[in-house]
């Protein structure tokens, strides 16, 4: 790794320091154990904080799109609104519904939260801030994120509510279809970079982000990934599983209190995860914008720490997702499936072929310049 740029604000400095201090003072077993606990705690904290920030950001931006001003009562500009909401949701009664399958009803929210936690752990937040870095990173992300849908299906079924059931069924059909497109779009980029490991992918984008590197094909894949990722997270215009105008709240209609909170949290986190994966795979993740040969420019870019780069990219993608969500009406189930099977999937398959040809023929930007 090139370390010739000065990086004063990086987290790596902190993590290396912790590692060396622990390693010097404790036997290796304990130092590893403590580090694991630290990582877990940090992940959990970041997880819940991200969700809270996202909820606030979404409510505020939504309001701006809708000629309103959004939360503004708790704290200046309402910044503590989500804190208050979290406290409220923690204090709320968990309503025990009659005639539900208790075990599954209570287990379902955990599926959601565990699936999004597992994926969350695989996100490279910044240089060196990367809890899980398998050599099959992209595949891992696709695999574990698919667990969440089981939570949705179980929640819908076990609630013993017809609205929930319809919501769950829609969700299942939607997820199974769009996972295909999302997977293919990521595979296109795997073809381009020749690796599935997220850290290597970022490294390979040092001087040219994938979206530029693979130009046409990469842009198409990027758009398809955004659409299908958006659909996977069940957010408008793909929010059929919880279409409030017909199904009231869909699969989580019967949930209250913290159980509902889990669904809520997972929904926002999934949005974040999709944006992070898109940023990592297509926009170079935490890698600052750099140009080969312009050392001074690159140094300036590196002064902004890598986690800030990551945050900015992710925020832009989330903003885009919100923008789309609050501009369009909801699709109908057959429109939704048509979009996937008639448009996205064929385009995607052709796109992979194009990408393979691009790579083989050496027409990517990296090859040309």
């Amino acid at each position: 790794m090139l370390q010739n740029y000065s990086q004063p604000l990086e987290f790596t400095n902190l993590t290396t320091w912790i590692d060396s201090t622990l390693g010097a003072n404790l036997p290796s077993f304990w130092s590893i154990a403590i580090e694991m606990v630290l990582v877990a705690v940090a992940l959990l904290a970041v997880y819940s904080l991200t969700a809270m920030i996202l909820i606030y950001v979404e409510r505020k931006i939504t309001a701006f799109f809708q000629a309103r001003i959004g939360p503004n009562r708790v704290g200046k500009y309402g910044i503590f609104q989500t804190v208050a909401d979290v406290i409220k949701i923690l204090l709320k009664e968990i309503i025990h519904v009659n005639k539900v399958d208790k075990f599954l009803f209570y287990a379902a929210p955990f599926f959601m939260i565990v699936a999004s936690m597992l994926t969350f752990g695989a996100i490279p937040f910044a240089q060196g801030l990367h809890a899980v870095d398998f050599n099959i990173g992209v595949f891992y992300v696709t695999a574990v994120s698919s667990l969440g849908i089981i939570g949705v299906l179980l929640a819908g079924w076990s609630s013993n509510n017809k609205y929930s059931m319809i919501g769950a069924m829609r969700s299942g059909a939607q997820f199974v279809s769009y996972e295909l497109s999302a997977g293919f779009a990521l595979m296109t980029m795997v073809v381009l970079t020749g690796t599935m490991q997220l850290s290597e992918m970022i490294e390979s984008q040092r001087f040219c982000w994938n979206i530029f590197n693979g130009h046409i094909s990469a842009i198409v894949a990027f758009i398809i990934y955004l659409i299908s990722g958006h659909a996977e997270t069940n957010r408008g215009p793909f929010d059929l599983p919880e279409a409030e105008s017909e199904l009231t709240a869909g699969y989580h209609t019967e949930y209250s209190g913290l159980q509902f909170g889990f669904f809520y949290l997972a929904e926002y986190l999934n949005m974040f995860i999709i944006a992070s994966i898109a940023a990592t795979v297509f926009l170079g993740g935490w890698m600052p914008l750099q140009v080969r040969g312009w050392d001074a420019f690159n140094q300036i870019m590196w002064y902004l720490p890598s986690y800030m780069w990551f945050t900015i990219k992710v925020f832009l993608l989330i903003f885009f997702s919100l923008w789309v969500r609050w501009s369009f009406p909801r699709l109908r189930i057959d429109q939704l499936l048509n979009l996937e099977w008639k448009y996205l999937l064929p385009i995607n398959l052709v796109n992979i072929l194009v990408m393979v040809l691009l790579v083989l023929a050496g027409w990517t930007l990296n090859d040309i310049f």
């Binding site: 799109f65 809708q66 000629a67 309103r68 017809k162 609205y163 319809i166 829609r170 408008g236 215009p237 929010d239 059929l240 279409a243 409030e244 105008s245 017909e246 009231t248 609050w326 501009s327 369009f328 009406p329 909801r330 699709l331 109908r332 189930i333 057959d334 429109q335």
Partner: protein
């Protein structure tokens, strides 16, 4: 007309020609069906449009009167009356096979008067529960609250319907099932975000597809017609704002006109101008809300708020004019309650410019959106014959190609003096209804433009007697409300209170057609179609 009367006298010698402002025939109930089907298929201008069906308790006999009209020329009207003196088990013949709109009206008449209709395929009570004791609109109804106590115990839905059918062996009473045994039924309503009120659709689904809809209503039935029988005419006025609260001013205009016509009160010109302008503003606010609600039903929450933002400006104008935003209380018998305020013209003109701009924005934002088109085009198609049979008026009826605008066909107030186009479309789908509303907003702006600068000076309210008594007779007045034809029927016996007051609500027709046009559509389209029909529940429940 002469010809028709002669023909009737020849064919139905028993039909009694009653002298009345309208051409009225009284006929024995046994001959009723034949008589009406004759009119229905009258070759020159078939009377294929049933405007109202009104039950009445005339003391000795229980009667029903029908106002038949011609869909191509709604100014042709015939009233047909029939009745029975059997108060214990009154039976009349149904005309549901001729006019689908009769179905729910007959069921309502059963609930209110206990008259059962032979051959009506589903003779449950409408608006009232099956276990309601007594028939409220009869004059001998016992109002003791102990007889019908308020119950907070939830009851199971009963999906069976009694009916009386005519068979060769005589009348046969039977009970039928509404749904099949293994239908997957969900309740859309009474508490549901998209029923636009306390409406209840029992919906049988096949996967996502709607198989059958059963309409239940009456959750907010307030008995306005019964209440009115004990109130003076000025007092009744305030109820009309609470029917279709989105066309509050227009409804009230209708009732005022009906009373004015009966009492022969001349309304000053200034009041007419104010009334017309306010009516059009009301129509716009109603259509704006309909647009918003429809977009919201289709999942576009942002569009909903845009529509409400524009509507707010109209409400502010209302607020300054008459001190009410939703419940306006503007029209009174003889004119209007408040004169316009000083800046009225300025505000309205500013709004016209603003609204024109916003209409263009709506067009860009939603009307051509590919998702929205997929959700509306060729969805919920209502054919013209069905629209007439179900008496679906207003923007929804005109979207099926039926020119039914009361403002054009039976002009009132200043509508014969202003120039405007009746917006009709022939597609009959959700999209046509959607576009119709936006175009009608444009027309309303145009109407207001022509009037706003010419409001004459003078009184804004005629002097009326302290106590208004209407001469004996029956009076009826149509107006074009936001949702369609709103009618007021008053039967006076010379008292200061009406003997029978009936409000013909447009929303009832809009809801009654839902089972037809939603069949075999997706459940999400059912919601979208509901939004495009734009019914208001208090208007149905009265």
């Amino acid at each position: 007309m002469e010809k028709l009367t002669n023909l009737i006298e020849k064919k139905f010698p028993n039909a009694l020609h009653v002298e009345s402002p309208k051409l009225t025939f009284s006929i024995d109930y046994k001959e009723l069906h034949a008589f009406i089907s004759f009119l229905h298929s009258y070759s020159e201008h078939p009377y294929d449009y049933l405007v109202y069906l009104i039950g009445n308790d005339e003391g000795e006999i229980l009667s029903v009167s029908y106002l038949l009209s011609c869909s191509t020329n709604p100014s042709l009207e015939i009233v047909v009356k029939t009745g029975t003196s059997d108060r214990e088990n009154p039976l009349l013949y149904s005309i549901t096979d001729l006019y689908e709109t009769a179905h729910l009206n007959e069921r309502e008449t059963y609930a209110m008067f206990g008259i059962r209709f032979i051959n009506n395929p589903d003779m449950r009570r409408f608006l009232l529960n099956d276990d309601w004791v007594g028939f409220p609109l009869r004059k001998d109804y016992n109002m003791d609250p102990a007889i019908n106590p308020v119950s907070i115990i939830s009851k199971d839905m009963v999906d069976t319907a009694p009916r009386i059918m005519e068979t060769p062996e005589g009348l046969k009473e039977e009970i039928i099932n509404i749904f099949e045994a293994d239908d997957y039924i969900i309740n859309i309503g009474p508490q549901h975000p998209s029923t636009h009120g306390v409406m209840h659709f029992r919906t049988a689904l096949d996967g996502e597809i709607v198989k059958k809809i059963d309409v239940h209503s009456g959750y907010i039935h307030r008995g306005i017609e019964k209440l009115s029988e004990n109130l003076t005419y000025p007092q009744i006025l305030h109820f009309t704002d609470r029917l279709d609260y989105l066309s509050a001013n227009i409804n009230r205009h209708g009732l005022c006109m009906c009373v004015e016509k009966a009492a022969d009160i001349e309304v000053p010109q200034r009041a007419q101008y104010i009334r017309t302008i306010m009516d059009e503003l009301t129509r716009m606010s109603s259509h704006l809300l309909a647009w918003s609600a429809q977009t919201n039903d289709l999942g576009a929450t942002t569009a909903f708020i845009y529509g409400m933002r524009e509507r707010e400006i109209i409400l502010d104008i209302f607020d300054k004019t008459c001190g009410g935003r939703l419940i306006m209380n503007q029209n009174v018998i003889g004119g209007v309650m408040f004169d316009i305020y000083a800046d009225f013209q300025k505000d309205v003109k500013a709004f016209i410019i603003y609204m024109r701009d916003k209409l263009k924005e709506y067009d860009r934002f939603f009307s051509h959106n590919v998702i929205a088109l997929g959700r509306m085009v060729k969805i919920g198609i209502l054919s013209k014959p069905d629209a007439i049979s179900y008496a679906v008026t207003g923007p929804a009826g005109r979207a099926s190609g039926w020119s039914c605008d009361v403002r054009k066909h039976q002009p009132y107030a200043l509508y014969d003096k202003v120039e405007f186009t009746e917006v009709t479309r022939s597609e009959g789908d959700s999209y046509a209804r959607y576009l119709n509303r936006l175009d009608e907003i444009e027309q309303s702006l145009h109407i207001i433009e022509q009037l706003i600068d010419n409001i004459p000076e003078g009184d804004y309210c005629a002097k009326t007697k302290a106590i208004i008594k209407l001469p004996v007779g029956e009076y009826y007045q149509n107006v074009e409300a936001g949702k369609g034809l709103f009618g007021v029927y008053i039967e006076s016996r010379g008292e200061k209170t009406p003997w029978r007051l009936k409000l013909r609500s447009p929303s009832l027709s809009l809801v009654s057609v839902m089972p037809l046009i939603c069949k075999n559509e997706k459940i999400s389209d059912f919601i979208g179609i509901g939004g495009s029909m734009d019914y208001v529940i208090p208007d149905i429940d009265r």
